[in-house]
């Protein structure tokens, strides 16, 4: 059964491993994956702990459905206190790792302490071993994975690894698996590096008993039909996330030149169709690949067509990579995007943070705040492809003043660079904003401001707000499984009803992340995709656990409140520019310069934004400062945390 998968506590300082079952009462309160990780993080770290010290705890998990016959249960979640934000660090990635860990007997790992020298974990059919990783240290993301397979003599081993960026404690280093499945954002790879933990390798052949196999199979088929019949997923399966870039840029929602423009002009070479052409030329007609058991297959395969890496195989790029190495630095060159993608994949470094910080530095260079003295002679102007790619390497290896400075993330870098560099930094809670522009979409702006892990679209973005769906359709989606009769509007430039949509999405995404399924399989980009009602059934058929859609909603709320409690404990303050639910001033002060008529000239109205924030807190049952009210904690049965159930 999925429910008999275990949790392992690994103390790298002492070299001790303890394996325990996960009690059913804990599953019923937090499911698994991100939800249970949030509980474990709050319970296994002390207030104010150093994110790079042995006191930080690193959680690695699959969702409660991980490895079962529900659709696309491939997601791996990693959580710890973030060295980038000093708040919650969390990342969710696809690929094949967590199902393999589930077949090896585990759903959750809690890794504490710090190893004396480089090591890796070997998880195999109920057993865990700490092994020497001296020969792996310094290796790239894929080199590490292939070396582990060779050492242990099994090609089917799946590993979660860090590359050189994690070893060098770049504060936004990724954990990676496969060619490009990236656990990006918040620097979980940096935490692994700080613990001298190079990799976690898993291989398992243990049965996961399906509670009702016939029904599980049939429901999975229904799920897949529903998912693959949606237009958005069909397009995703052809062009990948770059298709979103094409539409968004045309409309005027792509950050360009840091935050100076909201559209990248004359960018034909990085349009999704052009990237698809390169993939087809280098990998053939069938060049899309997917994560475990998923039929969306949203990831392209390609070979770099020219330049110093010509002929090199990689996967992607995603929307974010197009922005990071194309639109943001205004390079607009497909080969640069594909090469940049390859570099961050091999270094194990967050493409978004890397591209954003370099573009920020480019703006500072343009404004004279940075000079060739700080760049060690590099001409760091916008549109300089070579400088961009050179900076990626400098950050990874902390080379020169700027490489070393940017490797610490925007907040510390702004302190070091000084002058008014902070004014140009586009971040929330210390993490760079997604490369989309939310000045024309208050709902999306509220989403990035309030996302628990810092500025982010994958925590609560009501992306369907842009589709101008009829109000009755919106109402059908947003008043299930809990009733809502407040305002809802199809107008994306409006402020009315948006806090509820963000709150709903936040709860929905926590549900998905705790179940362990992909967001493309729920109400995110497509309005017709499954959510709470379907999860209730799929959970029952696969695990035998009976939870109503309303109960799953409440669990997701509880888990979101655990994250909130952690952030508050670590110093979150509502309006704080560095540690709060607040956007940087550019959203309020600088109007959009380009794009469609409903975008051009737009800014976020600060007063209306603050009102949205109040309302958002009210939906949560939080006070004006965003602190959960005692009655909310009582309702969710988390009044006495840490409660150490696990």
């Amino acid at each position: 059964m999925a429910l008999d998968r275990k949790v392992a506590y690994i103390d790298l300082s002492k070299g001790e491993i303890e394996i325990r079952p996960i009690p059913l009462e804990v599953r019923k309160k937090f499911l698994g994956g991100r939800g249970l990780d949030a509980y474990l993080l709050y319970n296994h770290t002390k207030k104010g702990c150093n994110p790079l010290g042995p006191g930080n705890a690193l959680m690695v998990s699959g969702g409660i459905l991980c490895g079962t016959c529900a659709s696309a249960t491939s997601r791996t979640h990693v959580m710890a206190k973030s060295p980038l934000t000093n708040l919650i660090g969390s990342t969710n990635m696809g690929g094949f790792f967590s199902p393999e860990m589930a077949w090896a007997g585990f759903h959750h790992l809690v890794i504490k302490g710090k190893a004396k020298k480089p090591c890796y974990l070997w998880i195999h059919n109920g057993e865990i071993e700490i092994r020497d990783a001296d020969n792996l240290w310094g290796k790239s993301v894929t080199e590490t994975q292939w070396a582990i397979r060779e050492e242990l003599g099994d090609e089917d081993i799946k590993s979660l690894v860090i590359g050189p960026a994690g070893e060098n404690l770049v504060r936004f280093a990724n954990v990676m698996t496969g060619i490009k499945n990236a656990g990006g954002r918040t620097g979980m790879g940096c935490v692994m590096g700080s613990k001298n933990l190079k990799a976690i390798a898993a291989r398992g052949t243990m049965d996961i008993k399906i509670a009702h196999p016939v029904e599980a199979l049939e429901y999975n088929k229904r799920f897949i039909d529903q998912i693959t019949s949606s237009k958005v997923n069909q397009t995703m399966g052809t062009l990948g996330t770059p298709f979103i870039w094409g539409a968004t840029n045309t409309w005027g929602g792509v950050r360009t030149r840091n935050f100076q423009h909201n559209q990248c002009e004359y960018a034909d070479d990085i349009e999704p169709e052009r990237l698809d052409e390169i993939a087809t030329e280098t990998m053939g007609e069938h060049h899309m690949t997917g994560c475990f058991a998923c039929q969306v297959h949203c990831r392209a395969q390609y070979k770099i067509p020219s330049g110093p890496f010509a002929g090199t195989y990689d996967e992607g790029p995603e929307y974010t990579t197009q922005c990071a190495f194309g639109a943001q630095p205004d390079t607009k060159n497909a080969v640069t995007v594909l090469t940049g993608n390859h570099l961050v994949n091999q270094y194990g470094m967050d493409c978004l943070e890397t591209g954003s910080l370099i573009s920020w530095a480019m703006e500072l260079y343009e404004k004279g705040i940075l000079t060739s003295k700080e760049t060690d002679g590099m001409d760091l102007r916008f549109g300089n492809d070579e400088a961009l790619l050179e900076m990626v390497e400098r950050i990874c290896y902390r080379k020169g003043f700027l490489g070393d400075t940017l490797a610490d993330g925007g907040i510390l870098a702004a302190e070091k660079i000084g002058k008014d560099s902070f004014e140009y930094l586009v971040q929330v809670k210390g993490m760079s904003n997604l490369n989309s522009d939310e000045r024309a979409t208050p709902a999306l702006a509220l989403n990035v401001a309030t996302a628990s892990r810092g500025s982010d679209h994958l925590r609560s973005r009501p992306a369907i707000d842009l589709y101008h769906l009829p109000e009755e359709v919106l109402r059908k989606i947003y008043s299930n499984p809990v009733p809502y009769d407040g305002p809802l509007t199809s107008e994306h430039t409006d402020y009315e009803g948006k806090p509820w949509q963000v709150f709903w999405q936040e709860t929905c995404f926590m549900g998905v992340d705790s179940l362990g399924i992909c967001k493309y399989h729920t109400t995110f980009l497509g309005p017709t995709l499954p959510n709470f009602e379907d999860w209730s059934r799929v959970l029952y058929y696969n695990t035998g656990l009976e939870l109503t859609p309303e109960e799953i909603w409440t669990i997701a709320e509880r888990c979101n409140n655990m994250e909130r409690l952690f952030n508050l404990r670590e110093g979150l303050i509502r309006d704080d520019l560095v540690k709060g639910d607040m956007l940087c001033h550019r959203y309020f002060d600088e109007p959009c310069t380009r794009g469609a008529p409903d975008v051009i000239g737009m800014t976020i109205d600060k007063e209306k934004f603050k009102k949205m924030l109040d309302e958002f807190y009210e939906h949560h049952g939080w006070d004006k400062n965003g602190v959960p009210l005692p009655k909310t904690l009582k309702r969710l049965d988390i009044e006495k945390e840490p409660s150490h159930l696990l």
């Binding site: 016959c69 052949t205 996961i208 897949i224 690949t289 195989y313």
Partner: protein, 165 residues
């Protein structure tokens, strides 16, 4: 009419849903180690090839079996193992040229694809049709059509080239 499993590896996305549904269908568990079909991967080249039983006409597994435990289904033509007869000597595993006869070290039994008794689940779930179930007489049809299309395109290109001279 007899149908056969046809694998077009170029279409395979490498997701391994076939392995999952195969083990759930046959054993009621999720466990690729118990799947009859397995996707072989060369990840650093992006190459994925699903491998399963070819249901050979002159089947080495059937021929080598010392106790005649392997026979052919009359309706669907697949080869199956009679576990009441099988002695678990694994000669069939050793002789299969495709590695399609598997051995399960939990139950200590050999196992192979039985086309799910005529409704293969791997085919039903594979949205890109990398694994398909086609009439035996039509096995080469798709390839023929693809080749014809390539020929026709080449001819059109040649004609255009000639016209431009």
């Amino acid at each position: 009419m007899e149908k056969m499993l046809m694998i077009d590896y170029q279409k395979c996305t490498g997701c391994r849903l076939c392995e999952l549904v195969c083990s759930v269908m046959h054993e009621g568990v999720s466990n690729p180690a118990r799947s009859r079909i397995k996707v072989m991967k060369w990840e650093s080249e992006g190459l994925y090839i699903p491998m399963s039983c070819q249901q050979c006409e002159d089947a080495p597994c059937m021929n080598v079996c010392p106790v005649k435990a392997i026979s052919r289904d009359k309706d669907y033509g697949f080869l199956y193992v009679d576990y009441d007869v099988c002695i678990g000597c694994r000669s069939c595993v050793a002789v299969c040229p495709f590695g399609a006869m598997n051995y399960n070290d939990v139950d200590k039994k050999v196992f192979k694809c039985d086309l799910c008794g005529g409704q293969p689940q791997c085919v039903r779930f594979c949205d890109v049709k990398a694994v398909d179930f086609v009439d035996a007489g039509r096995l080469s049809f798709g390839k023929k059509k693809d080749a014809a299309q390539r020929l026709s395109a080449a001819q059109r290109e040649a004609a255009a080239l000639q016209a431009s001279l």
